[in-house]
């Protein structure tokens, strides 16, 4: 009876995941969808603790189970509540890595069970394959996610070894070879498990290391689907439908999401994984030297220019988020509107660090939702725009993406700010953007530079506007 109730609970859990993901795909229902999936997860966990039986025996060690759940809940909630909106992407990567590590640990313990009871080489090869796959995929996901986390947090720099791709592919083949041979009993020492663990962790590191920062969202999405597959391996191991269900669902949805994200950035997945975007692009930057000089503008001139405009478009970038300037930016927008200037925000699909990241940041500072215009809708409007104010954005307004085939970002859809009558770029220095390349927009005769910290400069701009 107990087992039947648990089965029904797992069914409800699985259905809640489907509804959850479906509803997360629409702005109106997204919040509710997340809640539904969370409730489904909650009942599946509670059901497992109290109703799970294997060979007629229920679970024991309740203090340990609840202890672990409480520790995880407290730390998880604190981390998730405390993280700044700008740090969201690395937080997702971190939690993803935790799931991967969890899957790898399950494999370690299950293998230990096998090798304790008898010689593990006597076990079913398929059973061993599932355990090894869970270990390999989980460890890669864990190590890769941690590197992605470090990169987004700017603790780890891009590094490319010579012949990186050859090494990576070779290493992957070695791992699969050893795991395959071990499954069929070619190794008689259980320590082969630790060899596989070590090599998989190493592969995870080498896999993400050379991929440039701008492509990190794609990598996180891919590792996310890896963890899904690792979780599904657990489903096979325990003949547990809800683990299989949730894992495969995330695995396939995550893979498609990765492809969709690549499309939004106009890049193919192979290109992201092998192209060494950003990391090894320094040599290509020399192919076209930029001539011309940059012109600075004073704050009062910038204020006058904007005040007597009809239409101003603000292009927010990650720099705005780092300077925590979204609130001042909203103030600038309100001040200009009071003067009768039409203000809009142009949101590039990958503004910030991830698709949709900028919308979250601006919404946090009460910018009205309908002022945020997506790239395809705003691009035709630049021709009738008087001033474009670019705050801390760089690569998404680089015309090289359209004009210079040798540029690493060539082909990426960008905001056509050069169509506007004037552009003002607000930046801390002439440092290159995330992709590590020069921006010819800065040398455009129509462009003016406004150097300084985004928050400070915007505040001065607002008070200047009020004084005129």
């Amino acid at each position: 009876m107990q087992q039947h109730i648990l089965n029904i609970i797992y069914m409800l859990g699985s259905v809640s995941f489907i509804f959850g993901i479906k509803m997360l795909g629409k702005p109106e229902s997204a919040k509710k969808g997340n809640l539904i999936a969370a409730v489904g997860m909650g009942i599946a966990i509670i059901g497992t603790i109290f109703l799970y039986e294997s060979n007629g025996k229920g679970l024991t060690n309740y203090p340990w189970i609840f202890g672990g759940l409480i520790v995880g809940t407290v730390i998880g909630t604190l981390m998730a509540k405390k993280v700044k909106m700008t740090g969201m992407p690395q937080m997702v990567s971190f939690f993803n890595g935790m799931g991967g590590a969890c899957a790898a640990l399950i494999s370690l313990v299950e293998f230990n069970h096998l090798s304790h009871e008898a010689d593990f080489t006597d076990a079913e090869p398929t059973h061993l394959i599932i355990i090894f796959l869970g270990l390999v995929i989980g460890s890669i996901s864990f190590a890769g996610s941690m590197i992605a986390y470090g990169k987004l947090d700017e603790k780890i720099k891009d590094k490319t070894l010579p012949l990186q791709q050859v090494i990576n592919i070779g290493l992957l083949l070695v791992i699969l070879g050893i795991a395959g041979a071990a499954s069929f009993g070619f190794f008689d020492t259980p320590n082969v498990l630790f060899l596989i663990l070590g090599l998989s962790l190493l592969y995870g590191v080498l896999f993400v290391m050379p991929i440039g920062g701008a492509d990190m969202p794609v990598v996180i999405s891919l590792l996310n689907s890896f963890t899904g597959v690792a979780a599904a391996m657990g489903g096979f191991l325990y003949d547990n439908k809800v683990m299989l269900f949730g894992g495969i669902l995330v695995g396939s949805a995550g893979t498609l999401l990765t492809v969709v994200m690549c499309k939004a950035m106009n890049r193919s997945l192979t290109n992201v994984l092998i192209g060494n975007f950003g990391g090894g692009s320094k040599s290509t930057g020399e192919s076209k030297s930029i001539s011309g000089s940059i012109r600075e503008v004073s704050i009062s001139d910038a204020a006058v220019l904007m005040k007597y405009s009809k239409k101003v478009v603000i292009v927010p970038g990650y720099g705005l988020a780092v300077a925590q300037a979204q609130h001042v930016c909203h103030e600038l927008e309100q001040t200009l509107e009071e003067e009768g200037v039409e203000v809009k925000y142009a949101i590039h699909p990958v503004a910030g660090r991830m698709p949709g990241h900028m919308n979250v940041l601006l919404a946090e500072s009460n910018v009205s939702y309908d002022k945020l215009v997506e790239m395809d809708d705003i691009n035709p409007e630049f021709k009738t725009t008087d001033v474009v104010l670019i705050v801390g954005a760089n690569d998404v307004v680089n015309p090289a993406a359209k004009t210079d085939p040798s540029s690493p970002i060539y082909g990426m859809p960008i905001l056509s700010v050069e169509d506007a009558a004037h552009t003002i770029v607000m930046k801390r220095s002439m440092k290159a953007g995330y992709a590590g390349i020069e921006n010819e927009l800065f040398y455009n005769p129509k462009n003016r530079m406004l150097f300084g910290d985004a928050k400070k400069t915007l505040t001065e701009l607002v008070s200047e506007l009020k004084n005129i």
């Binding site: 995941f17 489907i18 959850g20 997360l24 795909g25 702005p27 997204a30 919040k31 997340n34 969370a38 599946a44 799970y52 294997s54 679970l59 060690n61 309740y62 340990w64 759940l69 995880g72 998880g76 998730a80 509540k81 937080m91 997702v92 939690f95 993803n96 799931g99 590590a101 969890c102 899957a103 640990l105 399950i106 313990v109 299950e110 079913e124 090869p125 969202p217 689907s225 979780a231 657990g234 325990y238 547990n240 683990m243 299989l244 894992g247 495969i248 669902l249 995330v250 695995g251 396939s252 949805a253 999401l257 969709v260 994200m261 991830m354 698709p355 949709g356 979250v360 919404a363 997506e374």
Partner: protein, 101 residues
């Protein structure tokens, strides 16, 4: 080769489930506006935290120190994935709450 064929045949239902799930996952994600990519990724991230169930099972069956320690760590990490994932997603989705008409 034979082991695989037996495996597939013995686990028919699971294999069917996997195939259907793959297509369902693809169906669910198509035509999602790019604004929602990050929350969706984060939500999916929380859902694969279902791996916690495996961690609870090994913890509940642990009878030696090795399994107890690793099982405990697995439960903590799995919970981090689930709770952290859902809370972060919820915070991201705050933006859609006060949508102006």
């Amino acid at each position: 080769m034979e082991t695989f064929i037996t495996f597939l045949s013995e686990n028919q239902l699971m294999v069917y489930l996997v195939i259907l799930m793959i297509f369902l996952g693809i169906e669910l994600i198509e035509k999602v506006p790019s604004v929602l990519h990050t929350p969706l990724m984060s939500g999916a991230n929380a859902i694969h935290g279902v791996v916690i169930i495996g961690a609870i099972i090994i913890m509940g069956q642990a009878d030696n120190i090795y399994a107890t320690v690793l099982g405990f760590i697995a439960v903590v990490l799995g919970t981090l994935n689930v709770v952290g994932g859902f809370v972060v997603t919820d915070r991201m989705l705050e933006m859609f709450k006060k949508k102006k008409k």
